[in-house]
Amino acid sequence: MTNSLQIQVVYFAKLRELTGLDQEAFSMMKGSNPTDVLESINERHQIDIGSNFKIAVNDEFSDWDIKLHDGDRLVFIPPVTGG
């Protein structure tokens, strides 16, 4: 039994350019939620992801305060500008 979760974060568009990465792994404490991951990203890359982002967990829109599970795949979604 470990006390940590392995979370995969995938980056698109401006976030991909800001981090210089397509994706990366974060090791989070059990009980962490997407907000916690966001703080880890901001800290690691010294950036400030805006609060108007949406969050997807395993390709479904999600809330910011759900408990994450080991192996979850997160995408932080900047305001969309398609069409």
Binding site: V10, F12, A13, K14, R16, E17, N52, F53, K54, A56, D59, E60, F61, V75, I77, P78, P79, V80, T81, G82, G83
Partner: protein, 139 residues
């Protein structure tokens, strides 16, 4: 029927799945979003669209379902292009069919309005002065 699609090649009305033949169709509305040469006072040279595809298709299909339900549509299709687009090229096409015109018009407008704020696709503009920018969106 309905179908939301993401394509990286040139798109046209032929990119839309063949309509199911239906003798009850009295109206068809089509919308095309086209790359124009200016945005917000900047001269645009080309655009790049990037997409979170698996979620985009889920969310796009969800929007089509909503439009069919709200406006009693017979068919609803949407195809969005990704990659690099030049001025004058088509970025998105919406097609709706219905018994009467009010439904096809309103359904077509609903779909493009929702796609533009809900489907995870992002646009980067390349300007004449060499600058580039990921647009901020309405969010």
């Amino acid at each position: 029927m309905k179908e939301f699609n993401i394509l990286s090649d040139v798109i046209s009305l032929q990119s839309i799945s063949a309509m199911v033949e239906n003798n009850g169709i009295g109206a068809q509305s089509v919308f095309e979003g086209i790359v124009r040469n200016t945005n917000d006072g900047h001269e645009v040279k080309k655009l790049e669209y990037e997409c979170y595809e698996s979620l985009a298709i889920k969310e796009g299909d969800q929007i089509l379902d909503e439009a069919i339900e709200k406006f009693d549509l017979i068919d609803a299709f949407c195809v969005h292009r990704v990659g690099t687009l030049e001025i004058g090229e088509t970025a998105v096409i919406v097609v709706t069919t219905s018994g009467h015109r009010d439904q096809s018009f309103k359904g077509c407008r609903y779909i493009i309005d929702e796609v533009k704020v809900r489907v995870p696709i992002w646009k980067k503009e390349y300007y004449a002065d060499g600058e580039t920018e990921w647009l901020k969106g309405a969010g």
